[in-house]
């Protein structure tokens, strides 16, 4: 195996180990359960589908929203968000579309439950995005 291939495999291995150690595994507790219940209620009230189990939500969002609430209004986060409101391309064909209204609403509801203090910051940036009911409920 050539030297640079060993380096590539090594770097990926190290990144994997770091990821496995440092990934924010969320755990259930009373506060996380309460937040999950609140999210399910808000999604259902808005007519949106909610995850099947409360446990799934707590594993992902914990009691503080995890990555979702980490500076969601930052410019690079907005760019990241814009890069998701795109067509089905994985590479160079990626292009913005008219996003699903439900997708934007659902995202804002998650923020309103886990980091309401950050909601306005994000809503200011994407709240006026044009959207349409392109996904069937």
């Amino acid at each position: 195996m050539r030297a640079h291939r060993i380096v590539i495999v090594g770097v990926l291995g190290v990144l994997l180990v770091i990821g496995l150690i440092s990934y924010g595994y969320e755990h259930s507790d009373a506060r996380a359960d309460k937040k999950a219940e609140e999210l399910i209620t808000k999604l259902e009230t808005a007519g949106l589908p909610a995850p099947a189990s409360k446990k799934t939500i707590t594993r992902v969002l914990g009691d503080d929203g995890g990555a979702v609430c980490d500076d969601p209004g930052a410019a690079l986060k907005k760019a990241q968000l814009d890069a998701q409101l795109v067509n089905g391309a994985s590479f160079v064909g990626q292009r913005p579309i008219r996003a699903s209204t439900n997708l934007i609403r659902g995202g804002l509801i998650v923020l309103s439950v886990y980091c309401p203090d950050r909601l306005d910051d994000v809503a200011d940036k994407i709240g006026d995005y044009t959207s349409d009911a392109t996904d069937k409920e």
Partner: protein, 485 residues
């Protein structure tokens, strides 16, 4: 890094004598590696959460564009590559004219320059998600990852086509095929456990909701999901039996691309109610929810690394392809100064790659450190996809003319009903081009006229002006090689 002029003859076998280190060594690639490179340059799991939003309708959203754009593009490219080496520049040069060939290959090359920052910013945010989510909003982290990964890609690309093919193929297997099979298997298990699918899977949900222009934008823009199937045709002369092996590679790639796009998106839609996924944390949030349901969250970092492998493997294909096309037309028509025509020992156009890297680095740093640039960067993806569609328009016209004007030119594969395929492909490209002028969500409530003018300006500056300048500034003595017969 550059020690051999491009006009040095390429031997047809690995027979460089000892000591003659300045002669590029001939490197073959297998048709399977080319199929994997093509697949890895077009499809990955990255789009699965995006399309899972549409549930069962994602099948329609991929299959219809496949019929109207993927098949014409792939079959036409298969015929052209089996008859003419060199890729899109050669086909358009032969079918239309040299300047049109230059326009085609420039459009294919230029749009990648603006694409790399977004691709690598996605790599940075994916890594940040599992290492420390706060890094995702850090300009230093994003800029550093973009620069390090991109230049690593340039370094690897300079090692030769054989190396690129191996690593790009590995990226597809490790980053897409294996995790894709895992996702689909887990999705099937989810259903067999008696769980109801999060997205309805009945016949009433086979078609996407019709909301007028937004639905049209969604469907037509999905044509572009298959952009790049023709790109690796530039490596056709690296195959031992180009006439038969390239079509074989293309057919395998078509099947793999469809499977990679459709099945994982369906699997995610079965398990994850997509509207409950916050967009602010990126696509990894959907995968977290997917694995969270099964209680195997330790797979989240694994899939993150897999996605990084797939993205960087795909990048290698894009680094090697269009730049090679630009080199070939540059030296055969005298469109590029000799500096850009020089090759390294492995026969790679290293000076083009390094110059491209310098430009990409500047753009990437602007993206990472200037909020106004990153916030508005989406508009560049509209401009560059419009520019790429020019390539397809030229390719379909050239294919019809080549069939008409050179019917007896030997081709390893003849596409059935080629004129019909070209008409369908051309009209699909026109439709996608026209839809590109409809403002997307991100444009919010701005003026549509201003938006259209901005896109037109971008097409002119990125796609049309540079090849016009290259053509006007060409020199006869820059022509260092005759076009192959």
């Amino acid at each position: 890094m550059s020690d051999v002029p491009a006009d040095a003859p390429l031997p047809r076998a690995v027979t460089a004598p000892v000591g003659a280190v300045s002669i590029p060594r001939r490197q073959w690639i297998s048709w399977l590696a080319l199929a994997f490179m093509t697949t890895g340059s077009v499809a990955s799991l990255r789009s699965a959460p995006t399309m899972a939003v549409y549930g069962l309708a994602c099948v329609f959203l991929y299959v219809v564009p496949a019929i109207l754009f993927l098949l014409p593009q792939a079959l036409v490219a298969a015929e052209l590559a089996s008859g003419w080496s060199g890729g899109v520049y050669r086909w358009v040069s032969e079918g239309l004219s040299g300047p049109m060939g230059l326009l085609a290959v420039w459009c294919q090359f230029a749009m990648t320059i603006f694409y790399y920052p977004t691709l690598l910013a996605y790599v940075a945010s994916t890594l940040a998600y599992v290492i420390d989510p706060s890094l995702a909003s850090s300009g230093v982290w994003t800029g550093a990852i973009i620069v390090i990964v991109f230049w690593s890609g340039v370094f690897v690309s300079a090692r030769g086509m054989d190396e690129i093919a191996k690593l790009a193929s590995s990226g597809l297997v490790i980053g897409t095929l294996i995790p894709g099979v895992l996702l689909v298997a887990m999705g099937v298990v989810y259903l067999f456990q008696g769980n109801a699918s999060s997205a309805p899977m009945d016949a009433g949900h086979l078609l996407p909701a019709w909301t007028g222009i937004a639905s049209l934008v969604l469907i037509v823009n999905n044509f572009l999901s298959y952009s790049g199937m023709e790109m690796n045709a530039v490596h056709v002369s690296d195959l031992r039996e180009p006439g038969s092996e390239f079509p074989r590679a293309m057919f395998l790639a078509i099947g793999l691309v469809l499977l990679i796009f459709i099945l994982p998106a369906l699997a995610v839609s079965w398990v994850v109610p997509s509207d409950s996924v916050s967009l602010t944390a990126g696509i990894m949030q959907a995968f977290s929810e997917f694995f969270g349901h099964f209680g195997v969250s330790f797979l989240v970092p694994v899939i993150a690394i897999a996605l990084v492998c797939a993205a960087t493997g795909g990048m290698l294909g894009w680094l090697a392809g269009p730049s090679k096309g630009l080199l070939l037309i540059g030296k055969q028509n005298g469109y590029l100064p000799p500096f850009f025509q020089r090759l390294n020992r492995q026969g790679i156009q290293v000076n083009i790659l390094v110059t491209q890297g310098a430009v990409t680095t500047v753009i990437a740093l602007l993206y990472a450190f200037i909020p106004n640039v990153s916030s508005a960067y989406w508009i560049l993806s509209v401009m560059t996809t419009q520019v790429y569609l020019i390539v397809y328009l030229l390719m379909f016209v050239a294919a019809i003319r080549l069939r008409r004007d050179q019917p007896d030119h030997p081709r390893g594969y003849r596409a059935p009903m080629l004129p019909l395929l070209c008409v369908v492909g051309f009209l699909s490209s026109i439709a996608a081009f026209a839809i590109g002028f409809v403002p997307p969500s991100q444009f919010a409530d701005g003026s549509t006229v201003a938006y259209i003018l901005l896109i037109v300006l971008g097409i002119g500056l990125i796609g049309l002006l540079p090849p016009l300048l290259l053509y006007r500034l060409r020199r006869p003595h820059w022509k260092t090689e005759e076009a192959p017969a």
